[in-house]
Amino acid sequence: MKESTHLITGPLQQDFIAQTLISHQTLKNIGAHSLFLGSVRQDQKDGKTVTGIEYSAYEEMVAVAVQEIKDQLFDKYPDLVCLHIYHGTGLIQTGEISLFVLVSSPHRKQAIHACEECVELIKEKLPVWKKEIYSDGSHAWLKN
């Protein structure tokens, strides 16, 4: 599994998600973790079934966008301890996880609100594209 700071090749694996949570146990000022997992849904479109989504990204600009998102959220929610964003790239099949966001703070309100806003900002600002793959082998490019 290739790992740059925020992009993972393939789906996010359960072990990775668990390890990320476990690694936060040493940060004793955290009282709340709010987590979001995005997965690929098996939609039906024009009689075709989605089998997966192929994600691609402008890696260098993802780093810039993530920094902007973090700056914005740490500014708005100053108690946040940390915020992690991981997005899968390449083919991710239905049921598999494409996005993992973890936000941690001393108290729950900031973690919950910042996590929700983080997901919306990711959809708005992250230079990532998705190609929906169908059971008949055809595909379509999607927009947010």
Binding site: V64, I122, K123, E124, K125, L126, P127, W129, W141, K143
Partner: protein, 75 residues
């Protein structure tokens, strides 16, 4: 100047990147591009130079990395 194509644009050009010799504005570059790849005319995309979004009036130089970005679809 390195030009990188993302999303559906890489399908239209059948490339993920290429070197194009060009100096001038982004809007002039867009004209060059739509002459070369006519399907670009129907596409909605923004332009980033060295990972920063720019507008049509921006002047490009030989050392720039240009990226053509269709609407984002992450998450």
């Amino acid at each position: 100047m390195k030009v990188r194509y993302f999303g559906v644009l890489s399908e239209i050009t059948m490339k993920i990147s290429e070197e194009i010799e060009f100096q001038g504005s982004v809007s002039a570059f867009k004209s060059l591009l739509t002459n070369r790849y006519s399907e670009m005319n129907d596409q909605d995309f923004r332009v980033a130079v060295n990972q920063k979004m720019v507008d049509d009036a921006h002047i490009l130089t030989e050392e720039d990395e240009l990226a053509l970005l269709p609407p984002f679809a992450g998450g």
